[in-house]
Amino acid sequence: MPEPTYIVLIKQVPDMDEVEFDYEEGRVDRSSAPLEPNPFDLNALEEAVKYKEELGGEVLAISMGPKQAESTLKDAIARGADEGILLHGREFAGSDTWATSLALAHAIETAGSCDIIFAGEKTVDGDTGQVGPEVAEYLDIPHVAFVSDVTKRGEKEIQVESETWGATYLKSMNLPGLITVTKDVNEPRLPSFKDKQRARKAEITTWGIDDISIDPDNLGVTGSPTRVANMEVPPPEERESLILREDPGNSVNQLLEKLDLGREN
């Protein structure tokens, strides 16, 4: 029987606490912040590595992005991935979640058989959480989202706790399948200095559209069903500092008028 394969989907994102915004130009200054693996994806990677430690097999990290995303894949290798694959090429640029999912799904098919796909619940920059379930749908495999604990690791099935419907559900899923994990699922390990040094020299495989046999018409801006019509970068709001000192009824009333809960952007 072949060794199981675990695939981790990883995106390189800017450190969100450091990233700066150009309010006048209405854009994100991506160069303002160091780049790092999407934090939730590190939880996904950790879960894959735990699976490998328990049942053996290989962990494959796949990312789609610019050349510099190689450093994120190298980080993944330092943290226990066996190999990193980068989908890269101008055709991929500007893809929305649908097109990204399609590309990643093609890459997963190209990589061969796969037992479990691990992804973070969302990325901190795009914040959609759509890619995981979309990949699962395209590959026609089951998925469980918002996994906060993996309670049993099996070869044919995985047992997880999933946060949904306002409660926690213990679910089992047949494999192959995909899970998206929350931060609660584990605490990603720190790499050793030795592994970190070794991974700096690791080779990252780069795949373009031909390698994964995908029609470029389904990629990038042209292939994406959605497009960003425009982007607003609202300047940070100053705190209003309104102090209300009336009787509770009136103060609350005034507060609620200010809050305008039905507010649309």
Binding site: G129, E137, H143, T164, R245
Partner: protein
């Protein structure tokens, strides 16, 4: 095809209130598109469709299947696709709950169509395009998104739009749909157990309502919980209450506790020692309730209510609930 369909998320007992918010917004969009407002009420056991109609739905597609009693996305995806194909709406709105955010992408990919996540603004422009506004980069940017495929799906954030009001006696059509769902043997995911007591994860909460020394007794956390539950938010506390054992460590906000950055932070009876401020001052909006006008928390608040939390908090909960 210019109808708007709302997915009425439910757990078999109760329709999630986000569905009523979607009906309000959906009606507005349907009017602009010149179409009707419909709702998909899919559940494990049959639920009454009346309230969806009274809150604005012209037509309710209702279907039940035993497998829908459990939160399994692939089951819901099968039947929702079936209903969408039957009703043929232009726009489909789904609440951006955990379940909605997990279900919608499967549906979008199955229909090979567009999906925009976690919208906070929705509109129809002059060319009848569906404009979806959503925050990204931790809410620092707002993207205006349009689609070039049809139908167009969006998940919509909870507690952004007001609930549609009830128009008593309003009439509408209920279409009972015969759902075709594969047998048990096609199930790939199984629910083994429902576990209560969600994990306390203050860091990810959208709304945190926290109490400090102004709270007199442990039991009074009930007031705080009531307010938090309106927002589906989490309960926090300042260090002294945690040290006294009134509430678990996981609830402590501050330098030596959790650092939170919710959309709304409501500080009740918290004076705002720097220890505490370090854990919450970056919240998008801070509302402070304290009887001491000199409390430092007021310096950091967007809105400060000077008053006894025992009067102000219940009043706030009451007014929010529209009582």
């Amino acid at each position: 095809m210019s109808d708007v369909m709302v997915f009425a998320e439910n757990n078999g007992n109760k329709i999630h209130p986000v569905s009523y918010e979607l009906l309000g917004k959906g009606k507005e969009l349907a009017d602009k598109l010149g179409g009707e407002l419909t709702a998909a009420l899919l559940s494990g056991t049959s639920l009454p469709a009346g309230e969806l109609i009274e809150r604005g739905a012209d037509r309710v597609y209702r279907g039940t299947a035993e497998r829908l009693a459990e939160p399994i996305e692939s089951s819901y995806r099968e039947v929702l696709v079936q209903v969408i194909e039957e009703a043929n709406p232009e726009v489909i709105l789904i609440g951006a709950t955990n379940f909605g955010r997990s279900l919608a992408p499967r549906v979008a990919m199955a229909l090979d169509t567009s999906l925009t996540a976690d919208c906070t603004g929705l509109d129809i422009d002059e060319e009848k395009n569906f404009v979806q506004i959503r925050p990204a980069f931790s809410g620092n940017i707002l993207a205006h998104i349009k689609s070039r495929t049809s139908p167009q799906l969006a998940t919509v954030r909870y507690r952004v739009f007001p609930e549609a009001g009830i128009e008593e006696g309003k009439e509408g059509e209920v279409i009972d749909v015969e759902l075709s769902l594969g047998g048990e043997d096609t199930k790939q995911v199984e629910v083994l157990e429902e576990r209560r007591g969600k994990k306390v994860n203050l860091e990810d909460a959208e709304v945190v309502v926290a109490a400090g020394r102004g709270l007199k007794k442990e039991e009074d956390f009930e007031l705080i919980e009531d307010l938090a539950s309106f927002f589906d938010g989490k309960v926090g506390a300042s260090r002294p209450l945690v040290d006294d054992g009134w509430i678990g460590r996981a609830h402590q906000v501050g330098y030596s506790g959790r650092r939170v950055k919710p959309r709304i932070y409501i500080a009740c009876g918290i004076s705002g020692q720097s220890q505490h401020l370090a854990g919450m001052k970056d919240s998008d909006m801070i509302i402070a309730i304290n009887s001491d006008p000199s409390a430092p928390i007021f310096d950091y608040a967007d809105y400060g209510l000077v008053g006894d939390l025992y009067e102000v908090v219940p009043e706030l909960t009451r007014q929010l609930k529209g009582e």
